[in-house]
């Protein structure tokens, strides 16, 4: 198995959807390829990090779309059509102002100088490097911090 193939199978391996033969070949490849091993480890860590996020409110547009999807299951549901439509309309009308208020709060929080904006949570390899990247951004042109450290981040799969 080549590295390119191994990378394509890693996510399915974590989802436990690989066929036994492919899984065996992937395990053999990971056993002998440190780069792919590191990639696999980072992918597993990212999945764990995502699993630690709490539940968050779903954006209204996504909810609206999801609510419009026909219910599909092997069991036939006998929900009266009129009731379903009323339920969907009520849900949309309830969530629309909530979503609008949520977006407004996001914009106002970004523009508020009192509370600085937040960065996303991500894995870091070295605290020192984070500070140096910020320091270079502040002292030289903003992009220089990115230019200095981006290749190393790319190597570590950041």
């Amino acid at each position: 198995m080549t590295c390119r193939e191994a990378r394509a199978y890693q996510s399915d391996s974590l989802d436990d959807t690989l066929e036994p033969g492919v899984r065996r070949k992937l395990a053999q490849h990971l056993g002998g390829c440190p780069a792919c091993q590191e990639e696999y480890r980072l992918l597993a860590e990212a999945r764990w990090l995502l699993s630690t996020y709490g539940a968050s409110a779903c954006p209204v547009d996504l909810t609206h779309l999801a609510s419009l999807q026909p219910l599909r299951s092997r069991t036939r549901w006998s929900i009266p059509r009129l009731r379903a439509r009323l339920a969907i309309a009520t849900l949309a009308l309830t969530l629309a102002p909530a979503g609008w208020l949520w977006q407004r709060a996001s914009v106002s929080s970004r523009s508020a100088r009192a509370m600085p904006p937040q960065l996303v949570i991500r894995d870091v390899a070295e605290v020192q490097e984070l500070h140096e990247s910020f320091a270079v951004q502040q002292s030289l042109q903003g992009r220089d911090g990115l230019l200095l450290f981006a290749p190393d981040w790319g190597e570590r799969g950041r």
């Binding site: 991500r122 320091a135 190393d152 790319g154």
Partner: protein
């Protein structure tokens, strides 16, 4: 055989233009600096840039070829013997092509917007003279701290196009900690769109989850410094928060970790170890750099930032900055005693 001569009047015109522009800079270096901050949004150019960081006399350089299409498209190719990595920026989306891995990956990075008002409050800006960078006449500005113990900077700006062609930052001891300059620079009107064609890899979407915990904020800050950013960090099973402070030029970072991230001295987890103790940094960093080899060499600064730590409850707090350690100690000691 006679060669072709440039008409004299064009030389005179260029000289006059430079004199007028330089005269404008003499009267208001601050205005020139403000114009230079906006130059990237207005100018399209191509060239070769060198960004350098020094570490104990050993210089590490990133030599890159740049194509920039105003206002926000940039292609940067790393001119490295190890392989030609490419950084592509289209607006807020960024991708990095790793020659080693032969693939694109999205890059998540937020620039720090320049705050020149904050800079001017804490630094004097003066014109030092004129010079030449990348074959272009430039005006040299010096940026010196009002509060002792902070870094200083020099900027060389082309007054005709208001582009900063060279920059150099020194710590309070006068040692160069970072520099960048154009080796070649050429203004262009347009560039082939194919240079900025985004890869198929999806860009990183912006999202703002909540911080893992409420950060402790110091009651004392060195003169001129303000908090400008805060962020969450994940590190293995642990979690942390980082607060960023600047006075417009200098930088201080305050890291606060909880959980297993606060590891004892000497405890290692391959590349994921967190160095949270004073005194262990130098040897650990050199050892890791040697292990990483050529590819993994990271630019380091000659005058390493001061680092101090303190434990508050179950939080491991670490502050770093190019400022007198006494100031950092005051900052750390002013943290609340309980999380």
């Amino acid at each position: 055989m006679r060669g072709h001569r440039r008409p004299r009047h064009s030389n005179i015109l260029a000289a006059l233009l430079f004199l007028v522009a330089a005269g404008g800079a003499r009267s208001d270096p601050a205005r020139l600096l403000r114009a230079a901050e906006r130059a990237d949004q207005q100018l399209s150019y191509t060239g070769i840039r060198i960004i350098r960081a020094s570490d104990g006399g050993e210089n590490t350089e990133r030599r890159v070829r740049v194509w920039h299409l105003a206002p926000d498209r940039t292609r940067t190719e790393y001119m490295s013997p190890d392989g030609r990595d490419i950084l592509l920026e289209c607006g807020t989306a960024r991708w990095l092509y790793s020659a080693h891995r032969d693939r694109w990956r999205p890059v998540e990075w937020r620039p720090s917007p320049p705050d020149l008002d904050l800079l001017f409050r804490n630094y004097h800006v003066r014109q030092q003279g004129s010079d030449t960078v990348a074959g272009r006449p430039v005006v040299q500005l010096s940026i010196e701290p009002r509060h002792p113990g902070n870094p200083g900077k020099r900027v060389w700006i082309d007054p005709t196009c208001r582009m900063a062609l060279r920059e150099e930052v020194r710590d309070s001891g006068g040692q160069v900690v970072a520099s960048s300059r154009f080796e070649q620079f050429e203004l262009v009107h347009e560039l082939p769109s194919g240079l900025f064609e985004p890869p198929t890899a999806a860009a990183v979407g912006s999202h703002s989850p909540t911080l893992p915990f409420a950060a402790l904020r110091p009651r004392y800050l060195p003169a001129g410094y303000e908090e400008v950013r805060q962020g969450g960090l994940g590190r293995g099973p642990g979690e942390g928060v980082v607060l960023r402070y600047t006075d417009g030029l200098g930088a201080i970072s305050l890291f606060e970790f909880r959980g297993e991230s606060g590891r004892a001295r000497g405890e290692r987890e391959g590349r994921d170890r967190v160095r949270l103790h004073e005194g262990s940094e130098e040897g650990g960093r050199r050892g890791e750099r040697e292990k990483d080899g050529q590819r993994g060499r990271r630019p380091r600064r000659e005058a390493s930032p001061a680092r101090l730590t303190r434990k508050v409850g179950d939080l491991f707090c670490r502050v770093m900055g190019d400022i007198a350690p006494g100031e950092l100690r005051k900052m750390l000691d002013s943290l609340p005693d309980t999380p």
